[in-house]
Symmetry: C2
């Protein structure tokens, strides 16, 4: 027998036990809440969960390391299914310029915007990028996120995109975080190919994706499919190459314009369509009838002061909604899924339970990890967080959430 941990005195345990796959509609309001609960962990996995008074085999408990939840709220560690965490420096000057009224174009002309992050990544060594990423992993973890999806996309050539993915691989080896890597070569057209988008699409599809696949550096491929970025037919070309190489699809969709991106995501069976700020009735209906997650990123709307995506309509139509930070240096310098949950409720009228479902079980499902994490049930990873709170609704009510008492990854306390 390996290491055993017994968590007792849990005021509310949100197990999220429910359907095997995506939660939709009324299912998102069900948290599988158990009061006065205990969780037994063996070898980093959940061995038992239930009301403490019903705990079987007290002998096992005696041999365990005790963790006292002090009446707090325990739930699965957050799964953040959309982040861009590999970059060198925060874009502080851009931020200040934007507050003073500068347009996106003016910021880009002054050397800012996404290109400044591209220059940063291209000019940095793998070790420098790992060093920049390490404290970010610590911040994700200390805010309760135990799994992230993480994208490349500031390299924009084969060497630098692969460098970013190797950085993620290394970070996953030296941090307890579970990192799901996504290749996002089609994040923007690189400066050296300015105006030659078709050439870049071919380079992504024919050069970069095969290299990424050969090294086994990514699980997903993503495309920024929007006006001014990549058109649906280009996304189709790229995602076909990705599929041939064994990469599943995600898609930046309907953020700036409606050009058919989320409908393409549904057609291709993509795991997720992300942003959806502009999604209308047709897009919402298509997503609701699909197995493509509707991933909402309200921290970027907040940071840019733009209208929020139609969360309520997506939920009411039956879409499988997920929430993510969109963590990135330009439009969402936000680590905290707790704050994203606050935004989801106060700005998009999601209910606390819906937001928690979106940030745990549904997010795990959208990354294909629902059999190993995202709920508290026997056999799954003991990725658990405990809030110093009496009621799970406090997670959404206090801006940023109540204090986190502890964070556990694979059965080990890391905060």
């Amino acid at each position: 027998m390996g290491l055993r941990v017994l968590i007792r005195n849990i005021g509310e345990c949100l197990t999220l036990i429910g359907p095997e796959g995506a939660r939709r509609g009324a299912q998102m309001k069900k948290l599988g809440l158990i009061r006065d609960a205990a969780v037994l962990v063996e070898d980093g996995k959940i061995a038992w969960v239930g009301a403490e008074r019903l705990m079987p085999d007290p002998g096992r408990a005696k041999l365990s390391t005790p963790v006292d939840a002090r009446g707090g709220v325990v739930l699965p560690g957050y799964v953040d299914p959309h982040t861009h965490p590999v970059w060198l420096k925060p874009r502080l000057a851009d931020f200040e310029k934007r507050l003073q009224g500068a347009s996106y174009e003016e910021i880009a002309k002054a050397g800012g915007g996404i290109l400044s992050s591209v220059n940063g990544v291209r000019g940095a060594t793998e070790d420098e990028l790992v060093a920049a990423l390490r404290p970010r992993m610590a911040r994700f973890l200390s805010s309760g996120t135990t799994t992230i999806e993480a994208k490349s996309g500031y390299g924009l050539d084969a060497d630098n995109e692969l460098k970013m993915l190797r950085v993620l691989k290394k970070a996953g080896q030296d941090s307890p975080m579970t990192i799901v890597p996504t290749f996002l070569g089609a994040h923007a057209v690189p400066p050296e190919l300015d105006g030659r988008r078709a050439a870049y699409v071919l380079r992504v599809a024919e050069e970069m994706i095969p290299k990424v696949c050969r090294e086994g550096l990514a699980s997903y491929a993503d495309v920024f499919c929007d006006q001014g970025y990549f058109m649906p037919e280009e996304a189709r070309t790229i995602l076909a190459a990705a599929k041939a190489g064994g990469l599943k699809a995600r898609l930046h969709a309907d953020q700036l314009s409606l050009i058919g991106a989320s409908k393409l995501a549904v057609e291709l069976g993509a795991a997720s369509a992300d942003h959806l700020d502009r999604a209308g009735d047709g897009e919402i209906a298509a997503l609701a009838q699909s197995d493509t997650a509707a991933c909402l990123l309200p921290a970027s709307n907040y940071f840019l002061g733009k209208p929020y995506p139609p969360a309520r309509a997506l939920l009411d139509a039956g879409a499988a909604v997920t929430l993510a930070t969109d963590f990135n240096p330009g439009t969402a310098p936000c680590f905290s899924m707790g704050f994203v949950i606050s935004l989801a409720c106060t700005q998009m009228r999601m209910l606390p339970a819906e937001a928690i479902s979106a940030a745990t079980a549904n997010a795990a499902w959208s990354l294909g990890l629902h059999q190993s994490l995202g709920t508290i049930e026997p056999g799954k990873a003991a990725d658990l967080i405990c809030y110093d709170a009496d009621d799970h609704r406090e997670i959404a009510y206090y801006v940023g959430g109540p204090p986190l008492a502890w964070v556990m990854k694979n059965g080990t306390l890391i905060k």
Copy 2:
């Protein structure tokens, strides 16, 4: 000689050294920034601040307890000049009902709203309220706030208003927090006097204020002067009684309607006019020409999803702007001045330096404490916070701020 502490290796020290009183206009953009700085603390007060290489009398340094700022950003502890922290339970059911579309009236009918907090306070003992307040003080402090203004206003009769103020006094004795108490008997008309507002105004002015003053329980008096609450003439009556008793004035103004509240604040020389969501050109001009602080509370706008106050117009007109959380259980369950600074910049287009000035030096001035705290200069309290950051703009850029490395109150590290 008493206790000496030497803080070294400060990457950016924001001293806020500048005008003695209120900062206005371009002054709010000046942080008195010193790079590679050190701060010497003696007996809980700042003895010296400057570039580390210029530190005089190294002998003193040798006899000091060292604190390493590790290149971080050091600034004055936040001063939060508007909070309502004394209550029993969070209003979680109201919150969830509001997300589902219930109106303020429906929530009130169901026993929610401010009256539920009044019932909570009235039904609780002083000790129960102190116990509920204690962890809130800890959260303010751990988020970098070392001074708060704190209002009564959930008692609405003499016994219970005085109980709230005694709770604040006790909390100030057993916490390192500096608490500036404000009597807000005129927060709402109590249920037992429903429809008899004039009678309640008299009770506040003639019974409650004299009692508060006799016990020395408050420094300020405040009135919720708005449509449906108290009219300007009623506020005038109450604040005249307060003045006679030695209490200075603050005013909830221009939040729901324009009935002349901020103009009354200016006329009476109130220390602060708070909220100002509806303030127009006339109100802005009056405030700009006065010594009444314009206190903005964007966390309540955020939480309720309402438009933000005209921060930019107030700043540009030359008003002395302050920022506060408005911490309260109904409309702003937010402890964090870091998050308020994020809101100030991303939602109201304040610059990071303006927001930091508003949350430190100007807030201290608006509480009459500018000679003892709010800046880092010799003779002032060593209330200091240190962010693990390279650049002060990160405070506004990362939603909620970078991690706080430590919090110091009167020269003692408390986090």
